[in-house]
């Protein structure tokens, strides 16, 4: 039998996988199921995701995405060609603190619904007292901002969910 710590570790890993998937695939969630015996995380999205109008009939309804933990952290790196057809994450290129706006109280760099160009700054990651501007990397519409202002972020952590234009 696992000690409580280890069991929590499995659950935490599952949750992390779920979180990453949600960040990387985007679209309105229907259901997340996290298991422990034999570790599984199941995520279901609504068929008409992307938050927009219902998708053309030719596209089949979104199937549940299943991942088994522990799995490698998906490397959803920013840059052309790495996004899925449906959505894309802009990830942090470094460990640091994420800021949504150029300074406290200022207007955020981007808001949900914004259309952005590849060189648009979407936020700042502060590391070692240096402010690193993060650009969108590709054109698209902001689906969600996944990290709160002032929160620590890891390398590769999804910051913004983007629907590629």
């Amino acid at each position: 039998m696992s000690t409580p710590e280890h069991e929590d570790g499995v659950l935490a890993a599952l949750r992390q996988q779920a979180r990453l998937l949600v960040g990387e695939v985007a679209g309105p969630l229907r259901r997340i199921q996290i298991s422990r015996g034999d570790a599984a995380v199941e995520i279901e999205w609504h068929g008409d995701h992307n938050g927009g109008p219902a998708r053309p009939a030719a596209v089949p309804p979104a199937a549940p995405v299943t991942a088994t933990a522990p799995a490698d952290v998906p490397q959803a790196m920013a840059g052309p060609g790495s996004g899925s057809a449906v959505s894309h994450s802009i990830v942090s290129p470094m460990v640091g603190t994420f800021y949504r706006a150029p300074e406290p109280g200022a207007t955020p760099f981007v808001a949900v619904g914004d259309l952005v160009e590849p060189d648009r700054v979407i936020g700042i990651v502060e590391a070692m007292k240096l402010m690193n501007e993060i650009t969108a990397g590709q054109a698209g519409r902001v689906l969600d901002v996944l990290v709160d202002d002032g929160q620590p972020v890891e390398f590769g952590q999804a910051l913004i969910a983007l629907a590629p234009a």
Binding site: T3, E5, H6, G37, D38
Partner: protein, 462 residues
């Protein structure tokens, strides 16, 4: 040294013996029941013979099959491990009759210590302090009442042939005695085929301290220090440690010397354990001796640097004891935790199943003796001991910290599988245990948190 040793056991101790043999260049024969075809020792041994079906009576207790397996494979000695045939004097004799060395004391010594009443007599003659009690076996409840009245309540009625915590009952007042006497007799008959019982004073807050001895065939004997085994649930040990904490060096020496005296008096040979109860004033009394390697022997190995199974093999092969008492150096502190496949939340019921995950702890001064592996099926046929985690440190405090770390690291999971690890961690966390001030009541206090006590109820420590 022997050419080839047959290991008449299973589980972690069979693995333990196979390791010792291999280190000494001795070839090994495993014997196994059909339930143990995939066992670690079958994989590890040089040869393996299937001796019977899952039921121990027809496999691991099947003397004829084991001796036949030894004959077939050309083994020259048999290591019985603990439990099963390890303290069966008849088996030791059958081995000798078939030209096989039984790795243990002479059959007469095994037989003498197997009869708890006779063991008391012998040790009294050797000058060891005994717990107050009946001089011989008791013919009737009336006889028991007379002795109990003399020595005072509570008393404990024990089966002469008992062992492993079975066949005993604590009696708190005269009115309960007749009933308990009859029950114990009946249980003894059913379990051991021998209904004889005797009676001793029952120490409520006793500590269970035992001494490891080693004796050769030439009348030399040494002790390897003490172990405290007070952390017991229903007389089943859960945690053992050494040296016994919180006792004066003077007391520890006196107990250890008594054990060696007792062993030499009966011509003991091999590794043996002498068990004592120690009261709050550090008074100690002999209770019984075990004529075999003990589950908790690694505690002593960690402290002495010796390999007790190596020593057993050397002694059985006729080698003189390889150390004098003044060459035995005790160093630091060691603790053993028994990880059983039991559910502490459901009365320690066996919780067998397949081990999907099995990652024992490692690192400095951390030893794991186990037959488990990922994919291993813990079956329902045998005792539930799955692994022993043993740690050592220069002092007891650090050993406790190390054990907490090791248990936290142990990753075991499978459908239906539960282990005693969470409960072991509660023991380690207990303030009295931490201070080294605990008695045989510790585990019951943790299992059943204190409530208004009714002294008329059977005490849960029985």
């Amino acid at each position: 040294m022997f050419e080839k040793v047959l290991i008449a056991n299973r589980g972690e101790i069979a693995v333990r013996v196979a390791r010792a043999c291999r280190e000494l260049g001795v070839r090994t024969v495993a014997v196994y029941s059909t339930a143990d075809s995939d066992s670690a020792v079958v994989r590890m041994a040089d040869e393996a013979v299937r001796i019977g079906p899952p039921a121990s009576r027809h496999s691991y207790l099947n003397a004829a099959a084991i001796v036949e397996a030894a004959r077939q494979t050309g083994a020259d000695a048999i290591h019985p491990g603990y439990g099963f045939l390890s303290e069966d004097a008849d088996f030791a004799e059958v081995c000798a009759d078939n030209g096989l060395v039984f790795i243990g004391p002479d059959p007469e010594v095994v037989r003498a210590f197997g009869d708890k009443a006779r063991a008391r007599t012998l040790m009294r003659q050797a000058g060891l302090p005994l717990n107050a009690g009946s001089a011989e076996t008791l013919a009737s409840a009336a006889a028991a009442r007379t002795v109990a009245k003399e020595i005072g309540y509570p008393v404990i009625i024990k089966s002469v042939a008992g062992g492993g915590g079975r066949g005993m009952a604590v009696v708190w007042s005269p009115s309960e005695l007749a009933d308990a006497f009859a029950r114990t007799q009946m249980a003894a008959q059913a379990t051991f085929g021998d209904n004889r019982v005797y009676l001793e004073h029952y120490l409520v807050h006793a500590r269970h301290v035992e001494v490891q001895v080693l004796c050769d065939a030439y009348g030399n004997g040494v002790h390897l220090g003490t172990r405290d085994c007070s952390a017991q649930r229903r007389h089943q040990k859960l945690v053992e440690e050494g040296p016994a904490p919180g006792l004066s060096p003077c007391t520890l020496d006196a107990i250890a010397d008594a054990a060696v005296r007792g062993a030499l008096a009966v011509g003991y040979r091999g590794a043996g354990t002498f068990e004592f109860l120690v009261d709050e004033t550090e008074g100690f009394r002999f209770i019984e001796a075990n004529c075999r390697i003990q589950v908790e022997h690694p505690v002593t190995e960690m402290i002495t640097g010796l390999d007790l199974v190596h020593e057993q093999l050397h002694i059985a092969a006729g080698v003189r004891l390889r150390m004098r008492q003044d060459e035995v150096r005790l160093r630091g502190a060691a603790i053993e935790c028994r990880v059983n496949a039991e559910d502490p939340d459901r009365g320690f019921a066996p919780a067998p199943g397949r081990l999907d995950r099995f990652r024992p702890p490692g690192g400095p001064f951390t030893r794991v003796d186990t037959h488990g592996y990922p994919g291993y099926l813990v079956g329902p046929y045998y005792d539930s001991l799955l692994a022993k985690v043993i740690v050592w440190a220069p002092d007891r405090d650090l050993a406790l910290d190390r054990m907490e770390r090791a248990l936290a690291e142990f990753d075991i999971a499978g459908p239906g599988v539960r282990t005693t690890i969470p409960f072991l961690r509660r023991i380690l966390d207990d303030a009295a245990f931490r201070k080294g001030r605990y008695s045989t009541g510790l585990v019951d206090r943790l299992v059943n948190p204190p409530a208004p006590r009714d002294s008329r109820l059977p005490h849960p420590t029985t």
